[in-house]
Symmetry: C2
Subunit: 111 residues, 2 copies
DNA sequence: TCTCTTAATCGTATATTTGCGATATAAGAT
DNA sequence: ATCTTATATCGCAAATATACGATTAAGAGA
């Protein structure tokens, strides 16, 4: 049981679900907000702003990184993060595609 | 530990995160797709289309319902589901607000 | 009434997520 | 060389999510 059946769905569905998952926690939305405001290159500043421990923030950053939404580069003793705008726009478009698709499909079915 | 710290974030962040969570599983995206295609009133048809057991589909439907994205009405021995387009548009707009907000904040920070 | 169909719910197993403290790592400062 | 600072990672605990089969509930039809 509890086998992972996610791969039985379409690639598009999986990709959208993965993106949604990446932003499915308020902490990660807050992180994106901080990164957008400061343009790039913030590290422990995020920890100061969020009500979470450093290790927890680090974990959330890792997830955003894995999802491709942010980039992280090591800059001396600290880490520099920034939004990957290219990936961000891609996802934003995919989202709107999904929304529009649902609307269009419904219009066709309706009348 | 593992205390839920979600409520320490802003209402907007929580609400967006909750919506993202609702569509963070391919099965739930697939369900929305089916509901859009058939306009409304589908029940066990979803089970036929998805590679999941009836009880699992029922659970996913419940989550979408809790998130407010779909409505379910009992129609005799069967259940009738449909997308709650009002809520859907609300979320769609909130999403685009988030995306635009991040873009604007970044432009200001940039130069 | 009894049966069939449809769907929700319960119980259970397993997997994943969330969170923290402690520890490791790595670069800069002293 | 050692100390400090910044972050990542490890190990753990608790909570949530995912999935299924079995059971329940409720209307439809014989």
């Amino acid at each position: 049981m509890a086998f992972n059946k996610k791969e039985e769905f379409s690639t598009k569905e999986q990709s959208l679900a993965a993106f949604a998952k990446a932003i499915s926690h308020p902490a990660r939305i807050a992180i994106l907000d901080v990164l957008a405001k400061k343009n790039e290159c913030i590290c422990g500043e995020i920890v100061d702003v969020l009500p979470l421990a450093q290790s927890t923030v680090s974990q959330h950053l890792k997830e955003l990184k894995n999802a491709g939404l942010i980039d992280g580069t090591i800059d001396g003793p600290r880490s520099c993060y920034g939004i990957n705008w290219k990936a961000f726009e891609k996802f934003s478009n995919e989202f709107n595609s999904l929304f529009n698709n649902l609307r269009v499909k419904n219009e066709k079915a309706c009348c």
